[in-house]
Symmetry: C2
Subunit: 354 residues, 2 copies
DNA sequence: AGTGACTTGTAAACCGTTTTATAAATCATG
DNA sequence: CATGATTTATAAAACGGTTTACAAGTCACT
């Protein structure tokens, strides 16, 4: 069937060793022999079995991506797709393949256990997660994306606290005081093992909180509502539907979603409720995914590049694998103000009349 | 570091074989010995090295997905994401991991060569593609998605010819006679080895052609323009910008895109050109991705379920692996008429005045 | 007691590579 | 023309498992 090194050796009338050298260490043998063998290799379409090779070299040629959720949910989230794109790009450049490792039986660590890769990138895994211990104790090089910068992990992320602060400042400066914050709902299984989102979520909430405090509000104020939604268009739409049935007086005048995809989902709900964006309701998101520019009105959002995060993380994982010691990396992010946020509707602007 | 089977054997005072049996074939040895060994396994945190195990069992526990394009392009295409979701779902159910195999040096066959997986799913690979020969001759079980139903491949798809016919009929019944058809541009490298899109594209074009013929038109008629675009939002936007600068008399009154994502990209161009959908221009797509319902106006499209195609294909690949003989599978698809298509603008409806 | 059938455990071969140690052949040099 | 250095090729060990074939011990039954 698939030719092995033995077949090549037999065909060339040499030993397995010689064939191995021809492929991995050409200077070790004479040019003629090498060329002759390589020709046969080519002719028979031989390719060294990576598994067998791994047994001795300890290199498999594959990078693993430990996903926080099942694949369908991940692929529904454009920002996560961007991250994967970045990782994929880097892998391609280095000739590695990329293995997706979604939770097994709802547990990330089980996925890590059966992972069949040289190095790992995780998304949203904090330093206290059991999988961190596992990877460290087994000496598997790994880099976390959207985790924390500690001594037991190497992380790639953005300054989420500041990002959230800036975004909230923007909303407040427009006069909004009644707001809904849409968070990604961790699926139950993930919760059990320290949901990935909680890391980023906490940082952002503390950023929001800081901005709110400056105007005498806080996250538990009656006018600030925190909603959990699925991280998808439908999730956003459902959340929007719940909010938009409220009376104009009690209804939030602004929505801040933890992901653009959620924010865009609320557009559909707003349309159904005949609310105009941004006249009746202001909406903002996080991530700045491509679509956000295409929707009408274009979405105000906190820009970050998933692609960049992915690339960097993959590069760092490979660096670790090669014995390097990459440092934590935090990419800048900036607020992109587009057409979906505007001043608070005058009627709701009770603070103005004071 | 990581304990091996030898360590366990030594600690338990038995042979490697016995340990192996304790793990894989417990009935083969006495219950007591088995329990004793398993206790030690647990205590030492032993986990059989999957690489070594594979060498003899020939099962890797991983399914490979041979992608037609680099990962970033694939992940930008929601329909492809849906397919991957479906495959992922099935993999998860069976406890397999999923390895992404984008073209290596622009060649799909190179990706297949270094693939180390139990079975493969391809997207858009036709029976004449070199990789089909490769996989068949190496005895690697594989299933094609959006390929062709031949004896050398097992395929999962939809009746693309009929789908295209139905969609075109819809446009024609609305009175449209000047039309632009937006096709996915195969990236140059893929062309070199028989671009994947060509399979589906050809079927669809022949479906369009059949419908056009019924009203005395054809694909090369002056009023029918065929454009190649990138399979993304930007691709659609760019194409739209080219079309919308044309004079109202020569400008197409309808756009049919080979993918929803392209169709949605033209929305932005239409908005910039102050054209109203569907009053000034009708737009339709293929796939019925989730977003298509969320854009305003909601997109008329030919529904198909990528998720379903992916699930089925993965299931069939595994069936092949287990010695089964799954049959070709063609899923039904149906036209979803939404708000983006309407009657041809009266001024352009020259055929009416005849 | 002898026979055949199970149990239970093991030694050795094997999977497809790389790597190490070694042998044989060639070459340059005093 | 020995001698040591350098090339070139190889046999054998290793990697960490599984599987095959076999041996020893039990057991039941004639």
């Amino acid at each position: 069937m698939k030719p092995t090194i033995k077949d090549i050796a037999a065909r060339a009338g040499v030993s397995k060793t010689t064939v191995s050298f021809a492929i991995n260490n050409p200077t070790r043998i004479s040019k003629e022999t090498c060329d002759r063998i390589l020709a046969i290799v080519d002719e028979m379409g031989y390719f060294p079995n990576p598994v067998a090779r791994t047994l001795t070299t300890k290199r498999l040629g594959s990078l693993g991506l430990l996903l926080p959720q099942p694949l369908p949910e991940v692929l529904n989230n454009p920002h996560l797709c961007d991250i994967i794109s970045g990782i994929g790009e880097e892998c391609e450049k280095r000739g590695l393949s990329l293995t997706m490792l979604p939770p097994v039986q709802g547990r990330i660590i089980e996925a890590a256990r059966r992972a069949f890769v040289d190095a790992i990138v995780t998304i949203g895994v904090g330093p206290d997660h059991e999988v961190v211990d596992f990877l460290n104790s087994h000496g598997i090089p790994f880099v976390t994306i959207d985790g924390e910068e500690t001594s037991s992990t190497v992380n790639v992320g953005i300054p989420d606290e500041k990002a959230a602060y800036d975004l909230m400042k923007h909303m407040l400066s427009l006069g909004h005081r009644k707001m809904a914050i849409l968070c990604v709902k961790p699926d139950t299984k993930s919760i059990a093992e320290n949901d990935h989102r909680s890391i980023v979520l906490e940082k952002r909430l503390s950023g929001f909180s800081r901005a709110l405090n400056e105007v005498g509000l806080n996250l538990v104020a009656p006018d600030i509502s925190l909603l959990e939604t699925e991280g998808s268009l439908v999730g956003g739409k459902n959340a929007g539907e719940k909010l938009f049935v409220l009376e104009p007086g009690t209804r939030p005048t602004a929505i801040v979603a933890m992901a653009d995809i959620i924010a865009l989902g609320t557009y559909a709900a707003a349309r159904e409720a005949s609310l105009s964006i941004p006249v009746d309701i202001s909406i903002a998101g996080f991530d700045d995914i491509e679509q956000s520019r295409y929707y009408e009105p274009a979405l105000t959002t906190m820009h970050q590049s998933g692609r960049q995060k992915g690339q960097k993380a993959a590069g760092m994982a490979i660096e670790l694998l090669n014995g390097g010691h990459p440092a934590h990396c935090s990419f800048p992010c900036n607020l992109i103000v587009r057409a979906s946020t505007g001043p608070v509707p005058s009627r709701s602007a009770s603070y103005k009349s004071s």
